[in-house]
Structure formats: structure tokens, C-alpha cells
Amino acid sequence: MSLTFLSVSILVLGAYSFIFGRRRVRHLSARVDVKQHSLDGYHGAFVMACVVLPAFSFAVLWSGFAPLIINDWLREFIAAGSGALTNAEINVLVSKAKALHAGVINARFVGPDTVEAADYFAGLLEMSSYLRATGAIALALAGFYFSQKLIAPRFAARQRVEKIAIWVMIGASAFAILTTIGIIFSLIFETYMFFQQVPVLDFLFGLHWSPQIAIREDQAANPGEFGAIPLFAGTLLITFIAMLVAVPVGLMAAVYLSEYATHRLRNFAKPTIEVLAGIPTVVYGFFAALVVAPLLRNSGADIGLTLSSESALAAGIVMGTMLIPFISSLSDDVINAVPQSLRDGASALGATKSETIKQVVLPAALPGIVSAILLAISRAIGETMIVVMAAGIAANLTANPFESVTTVTVQIVVLLIGDQEFDSAKTLAAFALGLVLFFITLILNVVALRIVNKYREQYD
């Protein structure tokens, strides 16, 4: 039974048990003269939860773990079959057997051992899905039997359902947290592998980035150079240019919207600016590559500057444009959160509007504005598409915005494109870069959130 079919069956059972539970309590209550504890729907929901949740969890867990076990058994089967095999040979045979089973390769091209292994594999798969279906349905039926027995007019179904709902939500949050932790650990693990091949200090402080692209086996002898400084410098340069564009424009837009614009204009302009934030970054990317970069190069040529067609400047300007709505929208919110009474207090002392804004409103909103900027920086650091398209992939160590530079995220993409050995220094370097990037944005976000929280306490 496929997982889809099984899920649908469980849901159908669930729907039936909801109706059943509801009807049953109504039926029971009609015969006795007591006040029913919970609404009918709660009884239905209780039975349904008892049917659906255990069965589903079982099916999902089974689907997660069974392939691992089956894989082990298949290896053992192959290893036991034909004498002394190395690990690598077993791996190849395992892949072949699976490919054969999937119909990717033809039985004519493999040995009889493999055909046998593929059959064994198919048997295991079938048994696994049979067991999964049986187990899940059995759990569903057991859940139904035991929960419907509890149904009674005075049964506290409402409390039970509330409790179950809480557990489901706890499960959802735990899932979110656990996957994040899982990602971090795998990053850390791969990074550790990387540092076995490339010294930590060479990576963190090296000035040259040129991971060799090994096209043939014998070229892999030279692993290349993995000095990450040019990448971080490039990231920094582009982020800096982006902030130079986004912060002044975004802030002024926010001040105008929240302090000067009429209600009607504000209601129109704010969503319009926020639409900018909804444009996919790849669109910004080709805008940068096809419009802004040539424009810069031509106007640079007019005043005697030589700009490469891919420049940090073009990428930075477009990225800044992308971040304007981000900064203006967040800043507008914090400026609006400054109590009107402070503005009144300042005007009542004879402050003009611009004095009030500069001396009272903005200082009061400053923590929120700073955190908006930090969040924008962390987005700029993580941005990839615009840089790939507009700033290039050459790892130049330069502070000249007219040259082409590259960033951490772009190099991660470059490292992982194409067929790669999974444990080569090149692939692992991507994980190391990812980990460092993760830490930088994590710190920025934590600092930003702390500032926001502190600020929030001030006015409640």
C-alpha cells in the first residue's frame, strides 16, 4: 500500500470516527438526564484524534527508518552472497541492485548475483509497506475502539481535545527546532571534515581563493587554495554599498510616510513600496546585469573610469534598492510606535515639526531603526542571485567598487554546481563557508531582536 493511499485511508477513517463520536454522545445523552460535559464536536474530535494521530505518526516514523534497515539488510545479503568484497564494491553492488529494481538499468547488463539482490530488495520493500499499512490500520482501529468506549455524557472531551491540540503544536515546534539543529550539526560535521584537509587558519585568514576545478581524476592532486578572506571582503564591500543606498533612502521614505504624508497617500504608498519586497531576487539580478551594470559602465566610460562589466557597484546598488522597502517598512512601523504624546510634548514646547522628528521621534525610534538595519544587513549578506548575475565569480581581494568581486554565498553555489565528489575539499569548503555565514547572520539577528525587545518594553 503506498503512503499516499495509506494516508487517505487513515483520513477517511478519521472522518468517519469524528461523525461516529459526535453521534454516539448525542445518542447516549438523549437517554440520561445529565448535563453533557462537552459539545458534541469535542467528542467527535477526540475519537478522530485517537484514530488519526497514532496511525499517522507510526506510518511516518516507519517510512523514515525502514529504508535504513532495508539498506543494511541488502548490504548483508550481498556481502554474504559472494565471498570477500571490499566496502566500495559492496556499495557499487547495492546501487546496482537498487537501480535494477527501479528499472534504470537492464538486467542483461548485470550479473545473476545482482538480479538476486534486486529481487531480495523488492521483497523487503513490499514487506515493509505491507507491515506499515497493517500496523497503521491496526493502530487506527485500536484507537477507535478504546476512545469510543470512553465516550459518555460526562466525559471531559473538551479538556482532552485541548490537551491533544497542545501536544500537536508542541510537536510542530519541536520539528522546526530539531530540523534546524540537525542542519547545524551536519554543517558542523562537514566543516570538521573540511578542516581535516585544509588548516583552519588557512581558511579563515588566507588571501587566495581558487579551488581547483578537477575535470579529470588526475587533476585532483592539487586541491586548490581556500583562503576565504576575499570572499568575506567581497561580501562586506557589496553589503556596504547596498546599505549606502538602502539606509538613507529607506529612512527618509519612512519618515515621510509616517510623519508628513496624509492618510490617503500613506495608505497608497506603503503597500506600493512593499510590493518592491515581493519581487523575486532573480528579477533584480537580471535587472542589475542587463540594465544597471551597462549603464554604470557607459557613464563610467564617459568620465574616464574603467568599470568591468560585472562590478561590486552594480550589485550593491541593486541590492540596496531591493532592501529599501525592507528598511522603510520596518522603520515606518517603529516610528509609528513612538507615542503621539511625545510629539505633542515637543510641539507644545514650540518645537517645529522637523525639530520634533530629529530630536524626539527619531531618537526614540532609534533602537528599532538600528535593528531594522541589522536585519537588512543579514539579508544582504545572505543574498546570492543578484551577486551571481551582477558582480561575478572572480575572487578579487579589492576595495574598489568598480571591480568584479564575489561573495560567500556565490562561491557556495559555484562549489556545488556540477558533479562533485561528496568528500572532496571543494565540496566540503561549501559547508565551512555556510557555517561561517550562518554564525554571522545568527549574531546579527540575535543582536537585532534583543534591541527590538528592549525597545518594546520601554513603551508598554
Binding site: L342, G345, L349, G350, Q458
Partner: protein, 256 residues
């Protein structure tokens, strides 16, 4: 300057509109110098609106329009040549809810003198801050922590800080809109005492919803009802012997 009891503020036919609705229907009121005038009446009757006419704080409310004239020392404050910045330096205001700026105590008080360029030197500014805090009765409590932020003070202290901030620019008139409504009885008593002292230097107009407060602090009382001044006179007379039946009903607690 004017002597006590002389007309300091004259309002003639003041009407205020919020959009289409008229909140004040022609207020004629003469407010005497160096005395305390309280404005009482049921909520929504236009007391705050009238108070805001005296320092043109209505200007900052979208859709608000004022007709008629208000004279302070004979100057029409709604005349074209009137500079609101100067006007507000002459007419200070204290709000219902204490609203110190999120700055230090010192900077709160120094704010007005700074924007009006009143203190040529640091010493002069220090002196102004100290005098204002002393007049507001707050100096003893805060002189050793002028650098702390104003919002760290208690509600009553914050309100006195706002009074100090208002009088630091040396106004003639101080407007107070229910200055004690967010305070406990002890802080209220302190502020009432302060008002008593301040009236020798300033003309004070106070909106209050407390009859006792009006009778304790003010010499004159105006009773507002539905956007009109129904009765205006000596506080003692209004409270002991109101001429108008609505006034009497309000004072004796029959209109809330």
C-alpha cells in the same frame, strides 16, 4: 506684564470643528492673569478642545478648524503674523499622561531652552534647569541623578518633570489638561500645592474632572456643557451657589 486678575486671555466667539462636526459653539471667556482658572464639565464637552485653542495645539490635528479669536495680552494668536513657535514659548502645556522624552532628566528640562536659544552658555543652561526643577518641586529628589532617564521616575515625579520642562522656557501661561488624572492621591496633593505656588508667576488654566480639585486650586471656574460655557465665575460662588441648573446638577453629581 499684567497684574493679578487683569484679563490675560480673551476668547471671543471661538468655534472649533473636527471635520464637519462642531465641538465648540462660540466660547467667550476672559481669563485673568496670575490666577488659576479651572474648566469643568462632563467628558466630551470640549474642555480639552478649548484648552488646545489657547496654544494652537489644534493646528496639528488633521481636519480641525478654529473660528473666532483668542487674544493673549491683546495679541490675536490666530492672526496671520503670529508665529506658533513663539506662541508656544509663551504658553506652556502639561498633558493628562506624563510624557517625558526618552532622554535624561536634564535634557528633558533643557529641551525648551535649547530650541528657543534661551541659554547662551552651559552655566546659564544649568541654572535654568536647576531653577525650573526647583520651581516644580523636584530638585531635591533628582539633583543627584540628572543624567538618569526621565521615564525611570514615578508617575508623580514624571508629571512634575513635565511641569519643569514647560516652565523652563519661561512662559506667561501654563495650560494643564487633567494633570493629575493618572496619579495617586499623594502625588496629586503635591501637584496641587505646586499649582498654588506657581500662580504667583504664571496664569494657569487647568482642566479637571475632580470637583474637589477645582475648588481647592482655582479662583475662577468655567462650567462647559456640550460645547458651550454654561456658567463662569468665582469658584466659591459656582460651588456654593450655582446660578445655572445644569451646573448645579453636575456639581451635585447628577451629571457624570
Amino acid at each position: 506684564m499684567s497684574y493679578e486678575g487683569e484679563n490675560k486671555i480673551q476668547s471671543t466667539g471661538v468655534q472649533v470643528y473636527y471635520g464637519e462636526t462642531r465641538a465648540l459653539h462660540g466660547i467667550d471667556l476672559n481669563i485673568g492673569a496670575n490666577e488659576v482658572t479651572s474648566l469643568i464639565g462632563p467628558s466630551g464637552c470640549g474642555k480639552s478642545t478649548f484648552l488646545r485653542c489657547i496654544n494652537r495645539m489644534n493646528d496639528v490635528i488633521e481636519g480641525c478648524r478654529v473660528e473666532g479669536s483668542v487674544f493673549i495680552d491683546g495679541d490675536d494668536i490666530y492672526a496671520d503674523h503670529m508665529d506658533v513657535v513663539e506662541l508656544r514659548a509663551r504658553v506652556g502645556m502639561v498633558f493628562q499622561k506624563p510624557n517625558p522624552f526618552p532622554k535624561s532628566i536634564y535634557d528633558n528640562v533643557a529641551y525648551g531652552p535649547r530650541i528657543h536659544g534661551l541659554a547662551p552658555t552651559k552655566e546659564a543652561l544649568d541654572h535654568m534647569v536647576e531653577t525650573s526643577l526647583r520651581r516644580a518641586g523636584l530638585w531635591q529628589e533628582v539633583h543627584d541623578r540628572l543624567g538618569d532617564t526621565g521615564s525611570g521616575l514615578s508617575g508623580g515625579q514624571q508629571q512634575r518633570l513635565c511641569i519643569a520642562r514647560a516652565i523652563a522656557v519661561n512662559p506667561d501661561v501654563v495650560l494643564m489638561d487633567e494633570p493629575c488624572s493618572a496619579l495617586d492621591p499623594i502625588a496629586t496633593a503635591v501637584i496641587e500645592e505646586l499649582i498654588e505656588e506657581l500662580k504667583s508667576e504664571y496664569t494657569i488654566v487647568i482642566v479637571t474632572h475632580s470637583m474637589q480639585q477645582a475648588s481647592r486650586v482655582s479662583q475662577k471656574t468655567a462650567y462647559f456643557h456640550l460645547g458651550n460655557v454654561v456658567e463662569f465665575g468665582d469658584t466659591s460662588q459656582i460651588f456654593s451657589n450655582p446660578k445655572n441648573t445644569q451646573t448645579e446638577a453636575y456639581i451635585s453629581g447628577r451629571i457624570g
